[in-house]
Amino acid sequence: MNKLTSIAVATSMAFAIGSVQAAETPNLRILNEFSTGWVQNFNPFIGGRQSVDMVLEPLVIFNMIDNMKPHFWLATGYSMSEDLKVLTLNLREGVKWSDGEDFTADDVVFTYTYPKDHPEIDTQGIASKVEKAVKVDDYTVELHLVGENAFAANDLIGQGLMMLPEHYWSKVENPANDTYEAMIGTGPMTELKRFTPQVYVQCTNGEYWNKDLSVECVEFPQFGNNDAALEMMAKGETDWNGIFIPDVERTFVSQAEGNKYWFPSGDGVRITMNFQTENESARRAFESVEFRKAFSLAMDRDAMMMIGAYGYVTGDNPASDLPPVQWGWRNKDADKIWSEFYQFDVKKAKQHLADGGFKDTNGNGFVENQDGETFQFKIQVPSGWTDWVNNAAIAVEGLRAAGIDASVVTPEANAYAKNWDGGNFEACFCGGSIQSSPWKFYDFTMHSRFAQGPQWWSTSMTNYVNPELDQLIETLGATIDTAKQKEIVDRIEMINAVEIPQIPLYYNGVWYSYNDTRFTGFWNAENPVAHPAPWNNNNRLLHLMDIKPRG
């Protein structure tokens, strides 16, 4: 916005309170967050409206579609010291907070110090990772790390960490309960124009530094369930959606002009076996690699992708279930071995069972384990996650066809989580998560330090312990040389392909759709810039800069 028009807008606002402005650009209407009624809370740490990420910004945005490539935001660069102990940040100059104050190194230092005094808001674990933050000059900050880690930058300066204005938060005593009505930020949308339980509108920050911004206001209509959202989307009333759409061509694209979609791949979906289950006879079976091969061969992945996931999703998972954003780290040799088992072949599955010593001795149609004991196990899947429940049923069909006595249980999502907290499950239909770096991905999903824990999608899903794997992951974290990193990753991938500690299935989709009658510049398969969905933490600031009003 140039100066002249902003003066014009300001005067017209001053003189025409209550009257409707002519020739206003439309609000960008976004559907991303379920709610039974908006609550005015913009707390950036917990429980606030997600759109606080259009108020407070991160230093760097890592591209979640394109190998975590950095897009510099409030920082213009960073460098890691040779000993992996100090991360130096160069800050963008000329950035102002929306109340006119300058954004400087003091704010950054404050952001990294504040969580130490308030552990309840430390969702990123700053206290355990950053020893101290030091101001070098007004636009340079050094982060002194607790432990050495080559991948610390992705963890510490990415989307999850929004820079806080020191002059506001230093005066807040109880940050977790502050509703942040001041909405002071460096971000694009800091003016709250309207707030009702059914809709709220956030408008442009007059001080905004990034001149790519063209959208005037963003609007968030409330919706309580998928159907309510689909109702609005089908009519083409909304511009930018992050909602699952069944039978998308029929229920969305053909319903209104300009309705379009792009569903890139998200995190991996897998079935895991609990290697420490109390079901002894099943545990003995899980321990056999031939059994695990048979398990993988009994998975009708095409049916799962077609039926449960409407054919929107893709497969070709590596044995480690590495998400596509990190496919640059795949190992061709490991993939070749794994491709033998990443297919649906009941006959081959039966062969592997026989090779592993699994025979049906009592004639009930299901094999007994290596010791001749009967065994059966249940795959748990959260009730209400319909696509997964359906696909778990398909998995069980395949297992039973191969002669393995498996069934499905559908605990409520909380009980599902409680079950792995107590190690109280036999097998699990679960997700694979996306992490900020390959190291973090391996660490979280494979390192035995997360076994027997309460974490979603972590090693708790398998409770698999492999000292060599642990060792490799630790070494990877302390290695700065890219060629060496690749070598270690290759070995990790190979272990997964040979050992098959889990059964990767397919990738979840990212449910992103848009309507381009009022705005242009939306990303799509032809223009796949970054993660396109309008959720927070997912590259949506980058996307917002690219969206332009039509006409």
């Binding site: 009624g37 309580g224 959260p382 989580a417 998560s433 996306i434 309460p454």
Partner: protein, 329 residues
Amino acid sequence: MRYIFTRLGFYFLAFLFAVTINFFLPRMMPGDPISSFLGRLAQSGGQITPETIAALEALYGYSTSVPLWQQFIGYLQSIMVGEWGVSTRFFQPVIEVLGRGTQWTLLLVGGYLLISYTLTTFLGIYVAWKRGTWADSLITVGSVVISSIPAVVMALLLYFAFASNLGWFPTGYAYDPALDPAYTWEFVSSVLYHLALPMIAMVLLGMGNVMGMRSNMINQLGEDFIVMGWAKGVRDRKVMFSYGARNAILPMITSFAMSVGAIFGGSLIIEIIFNYPGLGQVMFQAMLARDYPLIQGYLLMMTIMVLSANFIADMLLFALDPRLRTALD
């Protein structure tokens, strides 16, 4: 007077009973606010890091180390002073979250009670009077058939036919989001428009009351004093309303008091299907998110409303029924 005190005493005990259940039931459920928060994050594909959990635990102050009975005492104390805690799902005081939903539920249920009971009472009186005619058969059988349709089926049918497909009615919200709440005709009409279809569904489902009123009325019409009225040559209309209906309505008041809980419960499914932002929606979210304070608050709110309705009905009966008064005096 003694009667009133006895009733009050009963309601107080019932309230304590409900409070006890309120407290213990949610606590016996698996899951806690933290794991359910993570669950929502996991389902939407958010990044979950090991650090998140420690922070959440610190925030919620959620701990199982305090003995249950101490939690219970604390709970009783805070209820009495009106502190119902903070919702872990909406990060707002429970009273506020409930208040937001309650206004719409009260509007829906209150409007329903008014329309439905007026309509069914008059229809009931009418068909009782006209019993044996084709109008009687049509209305009674019709209301039995309509009110037997399960609420889910009825709501889905109306929603998809008239809101989604034909577009005659809105598909969600309590009023047009473009409007700000105000006492203007524009706003009020928008509220009524958004209320209409859920209300129609509820009124149709409540048509069964015609049957209740009809049999009460017929019972009354057989009583001696009615026959005497006729014998004295009192006009039909007067016999119908002053003699018959007045007494036939008394059991309706009791049945209303008894069904008030069911009506509030019934509005739940209607609110979910019509995307109407009432208490039912709130409760559903609270259940899924294991929002203990909110679930407790919801059950408490329901109990208070049901108990009050019962008490009001008691008082009404006491005022309207001379027999009850004389029997007690």
